[in-house]
Structure formats: C-alpha cells, structure tokens
C-alpha cells in the first residue's frame, strides 16, 4: 500500500518528532540550567534556551514540510536506495581504513618486539621514520585503493598505484616540510 505522505512530508514528520524529543527529553535531561537562571539575584539566560530555539527551527521546518509540501506532486524523484547503500559502504570503508591506520603502527612494533626481543613503544617512535609512516601509508593506500575499486567494480593495479602515490604526495605535503605537523594517527597515540 502506498503511503499518503510524500517523501518531504515524511521528512517533516521525522524532524517534528526529533524536535519534540529534543525539547522534552534531550534538552531537559542533558542541560543543567533552564531557560532562565537566577544567580545572586541576577536573572540571566540559561543554557536550555538556545538549543530550544534550534529545536523550534526544526519544528517549524518540519511543520512547513508537512503542511506546505503537497502530497505526491508527481515531480519527486524516487530515492536511489542502491546509491545510498553504496555511500554507506564508502563511509564504512574510510572508517575502517582509519581504524587500520590507527592500529598498524603499534601492531608492527609489537611484532618487531616479538622478533627482535626489544621493548620498543610506538608512542615513543611516532615521530620517527619509518615508523611514523606505517599507519598512514597502509590505511591511506587501502582507503584510496578500496574506493577506486568500488567505483570501478573491480580491483586494479592502477587503483593501488594511485593510493600509493596519493599517500606519498600527502607525506611530502604535510610531513616532510614541517616539524610541528603530525600525520594521522600519530598526534594522539
């Protein structure tokens, strides 16, 4: 059965509900002062007022979509679910590749320690070549290569090469000329 509401109207209902939850749940539970605050007999604006104004924008916008966007105008293009899934996969790939970037350096150091018997710490090596490049090079190459492969529907050496060149270029731009810049993930290891 087809919904009587258009996509925009459903969006309006979603944001009205979100604004409702914001006003009656999130803001009261997650803010310590109300709309108005009285400190030492002085009245001032509390922390809850501004987010409530934001919620009012959402509420009015949602209401506007519900009331003013005519149902089923016939001009609405259907949402491309497949494209949205592809976008979801793309974001997941970058998220995972940055996780890989974060974990590779310490992992390699741990393996190296196992082989050599040393007690190196990645945290102390994070500004020392080649250690500092391990995570960024692996995760960055993987991210570019995977997304090109997804776009082309196949793996190619060209995709891998592009990833490698991109990573080397970024190291040359951000790392080599500057002592004070740290490539991911070395800043907060």
């Amino acid at each position: 059965m087809e919904s009587p509401l258009s996509r925009d109207q459903k969006l309006g209902v979603f944001f009205m509900l979100f604004a409702f939850l914001l006003i009656f749940l999130w803001i009261p539970l997650d803010t310590d002062t109300g709309f108005i605050e009285k400190v030492r007999r002085q009245i001032s604006i509390g922390d809850a007022l501004a987010p409530t104004v934001a919620a009012a924008f959402l509420m009015v916008g949602g209401l506007g979509l519900l009331l003013f966007r005519a149902p089923e105008t016939g001009v609405e293009e259907p949402l491309d679910q497949l494209a949205m899934r592809f976008a979801g996969l793309l974001f997941a790939v970058y998220f995972l590749c940055f996780l890989v970037m974060w974990g590779v350096g310490p992992l390699v150091v741990w393996v190296a320690n196992g082989i050599t018997g040393d007690a190196l710490e990645y945290r102390l090596l994070r500004d020392t070549a080649p250690w500092k490049y391990l995570g960024f090079a692996t995760g960055g190459t993987l991210a570019v290569m995977s997304s090109i492969s997804m776009l082309e529907g196949r793996f190619s050496w060209r995709a891998l090469f592009t990833g490698l060149v991109a990573v080397v270029a970024m190291i040359a731009i951000y790392d080599l000329p500057f002592d004070d810049l740290l490539l991911p993930p070395n800043g907060d290891m």
Partner: protein, 536 residues
C-alpha cells in the same frame, strides 16, 4: 589617522609585508606570491569537474597555518591565498562547461547552454575568451561595490544598532538564509535548526557542557573545522562519488573540442556583449550582497534577463540563447562571478558569511586570530591605529591584485587548464576525501576529529540526498554561538527584560521581517508546488 591613511597602510601591508625574495632589489612580499599561488590553484580546481574552490581552501588551510603560524602577520598571506583560490575557481569553472559540456562548478551549469554549442561550432577559444572577459568584468565591478559599501554598512550597524538590535539582526539573517537558500524554505529552516543545534553541543555557561551526552569528546564542543569540512566537503565528495558510481555506464563525455577556430575577442564582440555583462554584473552584485543566496540564482536571473534582451535585439542569423550565443555565455559568467565579491559584504560588515568561500575566510580568521570579521572592524579610530581595519584594507588590496592577475594572465591560464578535465573523477575524488580527512587530523591532532568529520560527512550526504542545502547549516553553526552571546548580553543590558527583542522599534522591525520572510517564502513554495502539480 584618517581614512586615507588606513587605506594606504592596508596597501602597504600587502606590498611591504614579510619579504619572500627580491628581484633587482625590489622586494616581493610573501602575500603577493600567496595570492598568485592561490589564484593558479583556484583556476586548476575550478577547471576540474568534481572539485571546487572550497575543497582547495579546506585542504590548504592547515598547511597555510602551519607555514605562517598564528600571528597577525599570517592573516594577509593566508587570506590572500584563499581570496586567490576564490577568484581563480570562479573563472576556472567555465572551462569544462565550455569545452566538455560538464560544469566545473555548480554555478557554471548555465554556461554549458551556450558555451558548449559554441565549442561544437568550432568557436571554443572565442567562448573561453568571452567567459573570461565577462567573468573578470563582473568580478571587478562586484569588488568595487564591496569596497564602497562594506565600510558604510558596518558604520551604520555599529552606529545605530545596540545589542538587542544586533541579536534581532542575526535572527533576521538566519531566517533569510533559511528561507532563501535551496529549493524549499522549510528545508532551509531544518538545515538552520540542525546547524544551531550542532553549535550548542558541549557549550554554554554552566559547568556541565550541555547536550554532550556525558561524552568527553563532545564536552568541549564540536570542532568548527571538522563539522564544516564534514558537511560541506566530505558530504559533497560522497554525493559526487555515488553520482559517478550510478552513472558510470554512461559515456556522455565528448571528444576533444575541435580547435579549428582562431577567433579572438574583437572590439565589436566586446561591444555586443557589454550590455549583457553590465546587466548581469548588477544582478549578481545585488544578489551576492544578500547572505546565503548563491551564484546559481544570479546566473539564472542574469541568463533570463539576457535572453529576453537578446530575443528583442538580435539580428537575423545570430544564434539564439541556447544555440551558442556569446551573449549567453557573457550573461551567465558575469552574473555568477559578480556574486563572489558582493558575498563578502555581509562577511566584512556584519560577520555573516554569505557563501562557502566566505565560510573558509571566517574559519581562517578564527583559526589565526587577530581579525574578527564584523562591524567592529571598520572603526576609524583616529588616536590609535585599528589593526583590524588595516587588515580589511589589506584584504581589499589582495582582491584587486587577484583581479589584476585575472585580467592579465587569467585568460591564458584558463585556456591551458582544459587538461584538468581529463583527470578521471574516480581516481581524483577518493584522493580528495583522504586529503580532507588528513587535513582535519593535521589541524586538530585527534582521531576523534576524523570521526566527527566522517559523521558530519554522512549528515552532509543525506542532506544532499533529501534536497536540503547544507549552507544554512554551516552558517547557523558559525553564527550560533554569537547569536547566543549577543542575546545574553542584550538580556543583561536591558535589565533582564524578556521582551528585549520586541521593545525596541528597530529590533521589533527585524523580528517582524524575520517572521514575514519565512511566511512569504513558505507561501511562495506552496504556490510553486501547486503549479508543479498542475503541470505534471
């Protein structure tokens, strides 16, 4: 210190700033070189389909800050570079539109309507020259209007508006942006509401950081650059990538344009297109001065007005608009380019960003410090030097230097940048995505900034999918904190009067206009919906 002294100091601050090198004893300041580099980069990214000026600005900002540091001396080189990118990208967008029927930037879409038919007829070079001449003319006109208007507007605001009126003016700006940007005002309101909400996470005056869900990552507020780059850049790149993926089977790219013409830009042709340039430049400047209204609307109105004039005055045998009329290219390019200068009027006079490029100028100013765009900049103090005013005149000088480059070498470089259209999008965009995330990490030095950027990238992507413009989000996110601070101060200064926005006549007028803007926009939207329904 008089006005002329400030102007002169602004000019000197650009030409006699820190020296990079000297030629025959003539010192070349680093700001001049940065403007030139930004300008060249801008043309290159503008000419590359899928890239745009804001992407180059986002990626360059951490590098620039790292090179120049956080001192006031860094302001002019960094902002000069960004202005160069902004100007270069404006003319670069016409290159793929004319040569390959692919607009390099969204506002160059209308350029394809006449530019590409000119290419098909063998007049590609002429089309590029017309686009360049019109674009630079419109841009220069708009810059002159900016320089004349921004200080006066700022002085008016500072002279006549007190805290309640300033709070009401910010609300009016947000209402106007919400109503005017994008297709539907209701969606603009939602975008604005989301931006304000993001601005209020982890901030406030109480000890407990509001809306932080108890998370340490959110308790210091959302990083400005991570949110802006996530919504504007990552969201746009993801949308572009999915569009490419969906349409990857289609091969609508044309062969190389035939270079069989050798026609330049004759004085006769300039005389023919000049009325169209003037009219479009005026339209673009007026539209650009209103915050949030993009160059696409200016180009559409400029093109429509131009077409009406052309139909009345064209001679027999001249091509109509849409069939390769140079007047069509001129009308579009002059209109969309004249938006860029005028868009800085609300930034410099009110501190309200009007477009994505202005957002990055504000981001640079906030990151470096020492310059807060807004009415306080234009305080012509006579006893003490106002350094912000010197910087403002320095920025105007940077704009004119970029225009000079545009007039002299812009056309040549623009024609040479046709090669950028050959860069495969499926290779370029993933690299841009990695580059953006790397730039964010380098700036924030925390992995959480990358996660926040990705999360807001998802928000930006979904907004585009559902036809919600991300620009009101970004502008509201930037202005949210200032709106709350101004309202708090206004409330305190009026003795905790809860009606402070309505007691004062000017503030009340601003508030009434805010409500009226939203109501009128919603009604117009409803009418256009009805007519769409009837026609379908």
């Amino acid at each position: 210190m008089g006005t002329l002294d400030y102007i002169w100091m602004g000019i000197l601050s650009v030409f006699q700033g820190p020296e990079l090198f000297s030629i025959f004893g003539l010192s070349i300041s680093v700001t001049l070189i940065m403007i030139a580099i930004g300008f060249l980069l801008g043309i290159a990214v503008g000419a590359t389909p899928g890239l745009a000026g804001p992407i180059a600005m986002a990626i360059s900002l951490p590098i620039l800050i790292s090179i120049f540091g956080f001192s006031p001396d860094a302001l002019l080189p960094v902002m000069g570079f960004l202005i160069g990118v902004m100007k270069g990208a404006t003319i670069g967008g016409a290159v793929p539109a004319i040569l390959f029927n692919t607009p390099g930037t969204p506002d160059a879409y209308l350029t394809t309507l006449d530019g590409y038919p000119m290419t098909q007829k063998g007049n590609a070079r002429r089309a590029l020259r017309v686009a360049h001449f019109s674009s630079v003319s419109g841009d220069t006109f708009s810059d002159i209007v900016l320089i004349v208007c921004a200080p006066f507007l700022a002085i008016l605001v500072e002279g006549y508006l007190d805290l309640p009126e300033k709070a009401a003016l910010l609300i009016l700006s947000l209402a106007f942006i919400a109503a005017a940007v994008g297709g539907a005002p209701a969606k603009g309101l939602i975008s604005t509401g989301l931006g304000l909400l993001a601005a209020y996470v982890g901030t406030g005056e109480d000890f407990y950081p509001r809306l932080s869900l108890g998370s340490p990552a959110l308790s210091e507020g959302l990083p400005l650059a991570a949110v802006i780059l996530g919504v504007l850049i990552v969201g746009a790149v993801a949308h572009e990538l999915t569009t490419y993926w969906r349409e990857r089977g289609r091969q609508d790219r044309q062969d190389d344009p035939e270079g069989r013409d050798n026609q330049g830009l004759s004085l006769r042709l300039i005389g023919r297109i000049w009325p169209y340039i003037c009219r479009s430049a005026l339209v673009g400047t007026v539209i650009g001065a209103l915050p949030g209204i993009g160059s696409t609307l200016a180009a559409t109105i400029g093109y429509t007005l131009g077409r009406a004039r052309h139909e009345k005055r064209k001679r027999k045998g001249d091509p109509s608009f849409g069939e390769g009329a140079p007047e069509g290219v001129a009308a579009t390019e002059a209109a969309n380019s004249s938006v860029s200068g005028a868009n800085l009027i609300p930034v410099l006079s009110l501190g309200i960003p009007g477009n994505a490029a202005a957002v990055f100028l504000i981001l640079a100013a906030e990151s470096i410090g020492g310059f807060t765009p807004g009415p306080s900049v234009f305080k012509f103090s006579t006893e003490q030097v106002n350094p912000e005013l010197v910087i403002a005149f320095g920025l105007f000088t940077c704009m004119f230097i970029a225009n000079f480059l545009n007039w002299t070498i812009g056309g040549l470089i623009m024609r040479a940048m046709g090669i950028m259209t050959r860069v495969p999008k499926q290779m370029l965009l993933p690299v841009v995505l990695l580059l953006t995330l790397t730039a964010i990490y380098v700036q924030e030095t925390a992995m959480v900034a990358v996660w926040i950027t990705l999360a807001f990238g998802v928000v930006g992507y979904l907004m585009r999918v559902y036809g919600i413009s991300p620009l009101p989000f970004v502008i509201a996110f930037i202005l949210g904190g200032r709106l709350e601070d101004t309202a708090r101060q206004a409330f305190a200064s009026t003795g905790s009067d809860p009606w402070f926005l309505f007691n004062n006549p000017i503030a009340a007028v601003f508030m009434a206009l805010s409500v009226l803007t939203i109501i009128v926009a919603l009604r117009l939207d409803r009418r256009s919906q009805r007519s769409a329904k009837v026609s379908s």
